[in-house]
C-alpha cells in the first residue's frame, strides 16, 4: 500500500516554500483580504449562537463515538447504502480508489465526468489518473474550475482559489474560455463560468463528488455548497460516483443537526449553506440511475491507531483554522505543499503520508492556539503539532546539533547550581548565542544584551 496526498511527497519544505511566497505581495494581499473577510463573517454568526460551545461539545462527542467504533459504522453505512440501491467500494489507498473510479467510468464507455467537492480526489490525484485513461474531468465548483483552468494548485480548503483576485480570474477566463470580451464585475465572471459549465452539465453522463458527511444509519450522503453547481452534478448525470474519507461517517441522520449548524458558520460565515444536498442510494425516475460510493482509507486507519493524534480525523474541513492562523495569513496555503494547508494541513498531511516527506510541517506554527479556539470539533491542533514534533525528534530527523543542544540545556536545567554555571558561560560570551548570534533570529531582530548579573546573583548579594 502506498499512501500519497496530492503532490505533497515532492513539495519543498515549509520554510523554503514560505520564503518564495513571502516575496509575493499580490498573493499575500489576496490572502489577507479574503481571510479577514471570512473571519469577520464567522465571528458575527458564531457570536449570535447561545449554544455554540454546546454544539462544539456535541460534535466532539459524536466524532469520538464514530472513531471508537469506526468499522461498525462503516459496515452499517455499506448495508444501508446497498439496501437503497447504491454500490459501495472500499479503497485502501489513492491508486486503488482511482482504479475503481476509472473502471466505473470505462464500464459505461464514457470519456468525461463532471466533478464537485473535489478535495479528496485531489488527495488521490484522480484527475491525473483519469486523463491518463483518456477521460476528461470537468471541475464545476467555481473555485476548482479556476484552479483547473489555470493549472494551479488549491491554496485553501474551502476557497481553493483564495490566492487569486478578480482581475487575475478575469484574465484567466478570457484566455481559457476563448472569450473576446468580459466585464470585470463578479456577476460577469459568474455568468461566463455559468455558460461554460451549463453546456457540460447537460452533456456529461457521469458525475463525481466528494462528501461532507455520510450517515451510517440511512446510507445517505451529504454535500453542502454555495453555488448550486454541486446540485447539478449530483442530480443530472445517469451515473453518480461519490468518494469520501472513512472518517466522514456520522452515526445517525439526527447528527446532521449538529454539523449543519457548525459547518456553514465556521466555513463561510453563513447561517446555512445555500445548497444542502442529501441523497440515499438511487430513486427510480429521479436523479442518477446508478450510484457508487468509494470509502477511502489512504492512511486514515494509521491516524486512527495513534490515540494522541486520532482527533485529527474529527476534521469537517471548515477551514476556520486557516482563516484565523497568523502563519497562514502570511504565507497562504501553497507553503504547506499539500491540498490540506494551514494548521489542520500541518497535522493531517504528515500523518497521512510518511513523515519523511512532510516533517517541516509540524514546525510551521507558533503554537498560538488560535486554531484550537475556533475549531468547531475541538481538535487540539497545537497539542498534536507538539506530538508530531516529538515523532520527528524520535525518528532522528531533527536538525543537526539540535538534539545535543537540547541535551546540554536539559543538563543545565537539572539543578540550580548547574544553571548558574551555564549562566556564567553566557555572561562570559562562551555560548553559541554570543559567539555566532542566533542564525535566523539576528537577521531581523536584536538579541537582548547580556546583563552583568543574573537574578540569582543579585538575590544572593541582597
Amino acid at each position: 500500500m502506498s499512501v500519497h496526498v496530492g503532490e505533497a511527497a515532492t513539495a519543498p519544505d515549509f520554510k523554503k516554500a514560505a520564503h518564495v511566497l513571502l516575496g509575493n505581495t499580490q498573493i499575500r494581499a489576496n490572502v489577507r483580504r479574503a481571510t479577514e473577510t471570512i473571519r469577520n463573517k464567522r465571528a458575527l454568526v458564531v457570536g449570535e449562537m447561545p449554544d455554540w460551545e454546546q454544539l462544539r461539545d456535541s460534535a466532539q462527542q459524536i466524532k469520538r463515538r464514530v472513531l471508537a467504533s469506526l468499522p461498525g459504522y462503516l459496515e452499517q453505512f455499506e448495508a444501508a447504502c446497498t439496501a437503497a440501491g447504491g454500490q459501495v467500494h472500499w479503497a485502501r489507498d489513492a491508486d486503488e480508489a482511482n482504479q475503481i473510479i476509472t473502471g466505473i467510468i470505462q464500464s459505461h464507455k464514457q470519456t468525461e465526468i463532471i466533478k464537485v467537492k473535489t478535495m479528496t480526489s485531489d488527495e488521490t490525484r484522480l484527475n491525473v489518473a483519469l486523463e491518463a485513461a483518456g477521460i476528461t474531468p470537468w471541475e464545476t465548483d467555481l473555485a476548482d474550475l479556476i484552479i483547473q483552468l489555470g493549472h494551479d494548485k488549491p491554496s485553501h480548503i474551502v476557497v481553493p482559489a483564495l490566492h487569486k483576485n478578480k482581475s487575475e480570474i478575469r484574465q484567466l477566463f478570457l484566455e481559457k474560455m476563448n472569450l473576446t470580451e468580459l466585464g470585470d464585475k463578479p456577476e460577469d465572471l459568474a455568468a461566463a463560468a455559468r455558460t461554460y459549465l451549463r453546456e457540460r452539465f447537460l452533456r456529461v453522463k457521469v458525475g463525481f463528488s466528494g462528501a461532507n458527511f455520510a450517515v451510517a444509519e440511512t446510507g445517505s450522503v451529504c454535500v453542502v455548497e454555495s453555488e448550486g453547481n454541486g446540485r447539478m452534478c449530483v442530480t443530472l448525470p445517469d451515473v453518480m460516483i461519490t468518494m469520501l474519507g472513512i472518517e466522514k461517517i456520522i452515526p445517525s441522520f439526527n447528527d446532521l443537526e449538529v454539523f449543519l449548524q457548525l459547518l456553514p458558520r465556521s466555513a463561510t460565515g453563513e447561517r446555512m449553506n445555500p445548497y444542502n444536498s442529501i441523497w440515499t442510494g438511487v430513486t427510480p425516475g429521479d436523479g442518477p440511475r446508478e450510484f457508487h460510493v468509494i470509502l477511502l482509507d489512504n492512511g486514515r486507519t494509521k491516524v486512527l491507531a495513534d490515540p494522541e493524534s486520532r482527533e485529527t480525523l474529527h476534521c469537517i474541513r471548515c477551514a476556520a483554522c486557516l482563516n484565523t492562523c497568523p502563519v497562514y495569513r502570511q504565507t497562504g496555503g501553497h507553503a504547506y505543499g499539500s491540498i490540506y494547508s494551514g494548521p489542520i494541513g500541518a497535522i493531517l498531511t504528515p500523518q497521512l503520508q510518511s513523515m519523511e516527506h512532510s516533517q517541516s510541517l509540524p514546525y510551521a506554527s507558533s503554537l498560538c492556539g488560535a486554531c484550537y479556539e475556533v475549531c468547531p470539533v475541538k481538535i487540539n491542533i497545537p497539542e498534536i503539532l507538539i506530538h508530531l514534533r516529538g515523532k520527528v525528534v524520535r525518528n532522528g530527523d531533527a536538525p543537526m546539533g539540535e538534539g545535543l543542544g537540547m541535551k546540554m540545556a536539559a543538563f543545565a536545567m537539572s539543578d540550580g547550581s548547574r544553571l548558574a554555571g551555564a549562566q556564567k558561560l553566557v555572561q562570559l560570551g562562551h555560548t553559541p548565542l554570543e559567539a555566532i548570534g542566533l542564525p535566523g533570529w539576528s537577521t531581523t531582530r536584536d538579541l537582548p544584551s547580556i546583563p552583568k548579573q543574573t537574578f540569582r546573583e543579585w538575590w544572593n548579594k541582597r
Binding site: S366, R389, E402, G416, R445
Partner: protein, 237 residues
Amino acid sequence: MLISLFVACYNDTLFPETGKAVVTVLERLGHTVEFRQAQTCCGQMHYNTGYRPEAIGIMKHFLEVFRDAEVICVPSASCVAMIRDHYPKMAAEAGLEAEVAAILPRVFEFTELLIDKLGVTDVGATYPHAVTVHTSCHSLRSLHIGDKPQRLLKAVKGLTLIELPNADQCCGFGGTFAIKNAEVSTAMLNEKMNAIAQTGAEICTAGDNSCLMHINGGLTRLDAPARCLHIAEILAQ
C-alpha cells in the same frame, strides 16, 4: 504571605530586572518573598520542540523544588501555561499525577497572583508614560487572563493606557519557531510592530518577556520609538 518566586530561567539569565521588580512589588504589598536556589526551568522549550523525555526530567525537578511552597509566583504566562496545560499529561506518563495535581492550584502568573490571590489592583505605582498591552497567546488562550493587566495598569498613577489593535494576534515568537521559521516569524512581528506604532505608545508591556524580547528586538533593529517592558517593571515604579 510567604510567596515563592519561580523567576523562569530566561528571566533569571536575560531579564533579572523583571525578577527584582516582582520582589519590589510583593514586598511593597507587605509580603515575604523567597527564592529557592535549586530552581531552574519549566521545560517548555524542550516540550514544545519535541523533546518530551527531557521535559519530563525538568518537570520532576520543578516539582521537587516547589513541593512544599505555599504560593508560587511566576512572572511569565507561558511558563504557567506549560505547567497547567502540559504537566498533567506528562505527569500521567511519569506516574506523578498526585504531585502535579497538588501543585497546580498554588501556581500563579504574576498578574493573576495580584488580582485573584492577593485581591489588589492598585499596587501604589507611578509611571507617567503612554503604555499599550501585548496580550501573549498563552495569557489569552491558556490562562484566560482577560483584562487583569489592564486593570493593574489603570491603577498606576500618571499612566496612559492605549488599546493595541488586533491584540489577539500572535507576535510571531513561538519559541524555536522564531528561529526555525525566522522569515514567517518576522512577517508576523512586522504586523505587531505596525500595530504598536499605530498606538503611539512609548511602552509595550506584557507578562511574558519571551514575546517582549522578540518584539523589542525588532523595534530596536528598526530604531522604532517604542520599547518593551515587563508589566512587573512598570508596577514596581
